[in-house]
């Protein structure tokens, strides 16, 4: 029995990990782009970007998943996601990436706005162009500043992956819960918690290590 459960849970956890990794892969760069939009000097772009961030952060991810998946089909009559489990998975990734990119964008914005004007001016006077100043001077300092809030958000993401089942993407809790119905046992569900704990534990250690690594200077 244990082996059956473990196999099923591992399959579900694999799906959870996929969601986790793909979300990070998309949301980390997209969040930076959104943060530029929300800091833009071009007012319409800034207003629109901040409105999107407000809506995405102000509504439940679960609601966004449902709307993203069913919305196009029910409103426009076309299922843009394609059929079957692959279509559902794509919808999950898109919704997760957008949702997390908006959260990340605010973290980036806080980090970027916290860098003093003198740093930009020093770079400029030394003859660096804007992208050199951003990538060589500003961004490395931003990374150090945002590690603590980012690690918080990323650990939340680990647990949020469980929301994917609402549109039928079978992650670990789905498999755990299945055993209640099929075999009348609850321990597999508890067991899923162990996976989450271990994974977030590993992430906590990893972020602790990165923070320590970046402690070679302070402002």
């Amino acid at each position: 029995m244990f082996e059956t459960v473990l196999k099923a849970l591992l399959e579900g956890f694999g799906k959870s990990l996929e969601i986790f990794a793909l979300t990070l892969l998309g949301a980390l760069p997209l969040g930076l782009i959104i943060s530029f939009g929300s800091m833009s000097k071009f007012a319409p772009l800034k207003v629109v970007t901040r409105a999107v961030v407000w809506v995405v952060r102000g509504t439940p991810l679960m609601l966004q998943l449902i709307i993203f998946f069913y919305g196009p089909g029910l409103i426009f009559g076309t299922n843009i996601w394609g059929i079957g489990s692959q279509g559902r998975f794509i919808a999950v990734i898109v919704a997760f990436v957008l949702n997390y990119a908006c959260y990340f964008s605010e973290i980036y914005r806080g980090g970027i706005e916290g860098i003093s004007r003198g740093q930009y001016e020093a770079g400029q006077v030394l003859g660096m162009n804007k992208s050199q100043v951003f990538f060589r001077i500003v961004l490395p300092q931003v990374v150090k500043r945002i590690i603590p809030p980012m690690s918080n958000e990323i650990i939340t993401l680990v647990k949020d992956t469980s929301l994917a089942r609402i549109i039928g993407v079978y992650e670990i809790i789905y498999f755990g819960e299945k055993f209640i119905k099929s075999d009348g046992i609850i321990w597999p569900l508890f067991f899923t918690g162990v996976f989450y704990l271990l994974f977030s534990g590993v992430l906590t250690l990893l972020f602790g290590y990165i923070e320590k690594k970046l402690n070679y200077y302070h402002n």
Partner: protein, 248 residues
Amino acid sequence: MTVLEIKDLRKSFGKNEVLKGISFKVEKGEAVAIIGSSGSGKSTLLRCATLLETADDGSICYKGKYLLKDKVYAEKDELKEICSSFGLVFQNFNLFPHMSVMQNIIEAPMLVKGISREDAEARARDLLSQMGLSDKENAYPCELSGGQQQRVAIARALALDPDVLFFDEPTSALDPELTGEVLAVIKRLAEADMTMVIVTHEMAFARDVAEKVIFMDSGVIAEEGDPKELFYHPKTDRLKAFLHNANI
């Protein structure tokens, strides 16, 4: 040779006119001190000359090339070349905290001028020894005193071999005992005929080191000339009052 010539420079922030037509020249090898009370426009003048602020009118000319003329700034390529003629040392140092002293100094020469790492490092070591900081090349700015940080900032600016180096109140953020070490470095540069424009509140330093002193008052140059003449025989009441308050 005239390294910098500024003519009738004007700058307003909103309705507040900060620079009301500033004109002066800096010759090669000259150390010029700009004095005046807070709000007289000294820092704005330096920021306009170094392109950190855009001036409204007038001209700025480095070695015969116009950075600004008739309200028009030079084109991008030319701008880049002109900007390599000057360096600026900030009041708050503005070192890059995530980089070691060595990285701070070699970053721009390598990135902007395309100098090889070996050459940039050799030059940096030479400058650090001039600054008395040879043992600090691997230190980070947070591990240094304010005076040491400012000396690194001076080395960083010198590494690009500017024709003229601006100092914006280089010792105002320092404790009195650290001020001396930074002033000593600037004095040595002056003795080596580095062309410099120094905004400062250190009156004795301006008097002893500068070849020319400019006294600014509410956006205009109220008086300028030989430091001894200016300090011991001020012509305007405004300068007399300023020097009196500055206790010199």
